[in-house]
């Protein structure tokens, strides 16, 4: 056995700094958020694809279906329909991001490195919070690209910068809520492959049965009610209000107060999904 240079570990190992649970949680979350963002930067295929889908949607709905829907729906011009459409496209991008979040979580949970994280004296919930934070950061360029695309096809905000920024803030809040939906689905998914199968059948009807393309008044009675109460509608209409884009005002309180409804829905989704996700995560593979 060599008298190796491996010095007495007891002397070399630094002692961990002390700190409250809360401080540890934030610092662990920051470290892991950085890890997740590094992943996104070093394997950018997935984030870039995630960007491409809403762009295609904008072009598809704005131009291919725009003329038909404008004639049938708002009774306005295709340009007006695109103004009506854009906030829905922003929200749709936030909604479909659930798939990326859930897929990321499901993949992570399967990795061997999870075993190391779990055997370390860190806050387990920081792993989930970091996923949420990193995906929120990823939403910034996504929203920016969509806004740029909207401006190119003639959409604009009409109520000033401050209200437009508030609208972006609202989109981010909604995305934050969606990250927790994604995290919950990710920890519930039996394996990463089924995530897409779970997410898309959930997201598609939610998107269509909302004010995204059609005002509820033009839907059959039952579907119209569902669309009116759909949280997606609340967020889309709140974004329309803040951006100053046209919207079709309904005759119920919910339809008339999209902003408080959007905030309440987002808050409720977070309060419901985050604790469930953390609980499920702690019990995973025990």
């Amino acid at each position: 056995m060599t008298a190796s240079t491996a010095a007495r570990p007891a002397a070399t190992a630094p002692a961990p700094r002390s700190g409250g649970r809360f401080a540890r949680f934030w610092s662990d979350t920051a470290v892991l958020t950085r890890r997740n963002l590094t992943h996104a930067v070093r394997s950018p295929a997935e984030p870039l694809l995630a960007l491409l889908v809403p762009l295609m949607m904008v072009l598809l709905f704005g131009f291919v279906f725009g003329n038909v829907m404008a004639a049938e729906g708002t009774g306005g011009t295709p340009e007006q329909f695109r103004e009506y459409l854009m906030p829905g496209m922003f929200v749709m991008a936030m909604l479909y991001s659930v798939a990326a979040t859930a897929g990321g979580v499901a993949l992570d949970v399967d990795k061997a490195v999870m075993g190391r994280f779990r055997s370390m004296p860190m806050a387990p919930s920081a792993l989930l919070a970091a996923r949420s934070a990193a995906d929120l950061v990823r939403a910034l360029p996504e929203i920016a690209v969509l806004i740029a695309c909207g401006l190119l096809i003639g959409w604009e905000w009409t109520e000033g910068w401050d209200r437009a920024l508030a609208a972006v803030g609202l989109l981010l809040l909604f995305r934050f809520a969606m990250t927790w939906v994604g995290i919950l689905l990710g920890v519930l998914a039996p394996n990463p492959n089924v995530v897409g199968l779970i997410v898309y059948p959930l997201a598609f009807p939610l998107g269509v049965l909302s004010t995204m393309f059609t005002p509820p008044a033009l839907m059959p009675e039952v579907l119209g009610r569902i669309a009116e109460w759909n949280p997606i509608s609340a967020v889309i209409d709140a974004a329309r209000v803040l951006f100053g884009n046209p919207r079709i005002v309904g005759d119920s309180w919910v339809a008339d107060h999209p902003l408080p409804m959007a905030l309440a829905w987002s808050g409720a989704i977070i309060l419901l999904c985050a604790p469930l996700a953390v609980r499920r995560f702690r019990r995973l593979s025990r």
Partner: protein, 341 residues
Amino acid sequence: MGTTPDLAVSAEGLVKSYGATRALDHLDLAVPAGTVMGLLGPNGAGKTTAVEILATLRRADAGRAVVAGHDAAREPERVRERIGLTGQYAAVDEILTGRENLVMFARLSGLGAATARRRADDLLERFDLTAAAGRPAGRYSGGMRRRLDLAASLTLDPAVLFLDEPTTGLDPRSRNGVWRAVRDLVGAGTTVLLTTQYLEEADRLADRMAVIDSGRVIAEGTAEQLKSTVGGDRVDVVVEEAADLEPAAAVLARVCGTAPRTDPEERRVSAPVAAADRIAALTGVVRGLDAAGLRATDIGVRRPTLDDVFLGLTGRTGADREGAARPAAPAPAPAGQGAAA
């Protein structure tokens, strides 16, 4: 705490089932502080499950595990502060570089940014990874990844280190490096619980070992104690012609004064011999064979190895299954072939 204070790891009656599979069936284990315990057992014996329960990754269905003075089920956070784990599969982030991995784990262990960087550099140096520090861990060779994994589990100088098959898939040089690192740690006072398929590894590193099968400990002790359970030294003769087996057995019986066993498949005859008589017996056998005109391809005195222990203890079910295929083999399993089959 209710446990002997100088036990670094103690498990009492651990039970764990995965659905219908009972992975651990009342497993008991006691590892004195500052020693190395080897956990041996065939595939599926429950080694990984035991390690995962002790390292707080899983909860036992029943029983109690105390690690570094804390109950693994009730105070997992305290346990995690005192342990390091190198699992069966390298648990590093494949996209991050080696250095980024170690810095991240150090930060998550509660070190400040500057201290974490320094610690990472120390560990890279110590495990000979400095040159590869800037490459993504996913592009490391298996051995480098294992070393990085081991380095990561030493971030805080754990009081108790769990190593689940730490050298599987390593070349002899890397294996020696891991062994040296483990000995250094033990020299500095760390307690190590090590699972392995390599009996040589257990023989070299472990002070005591436990053989587990079907989720329970079936033998426990030092290597010498375990070897003595399968008997003492033996004289082995391998003959060239199968027809020579019987006459060779007669020679062995006469010289050693014990009943020889014959293994027709290997054309081997072997007879127990007292330790004091080993060389005299060997000489006698050589002369006897010569006088009888028998040609041997191999003659030797064999001490029992841990392979014999392992196969003797755990081979029963395996032998039963094999029994159907080759019914004519009453002999002890051939040694020196390892447990893997």
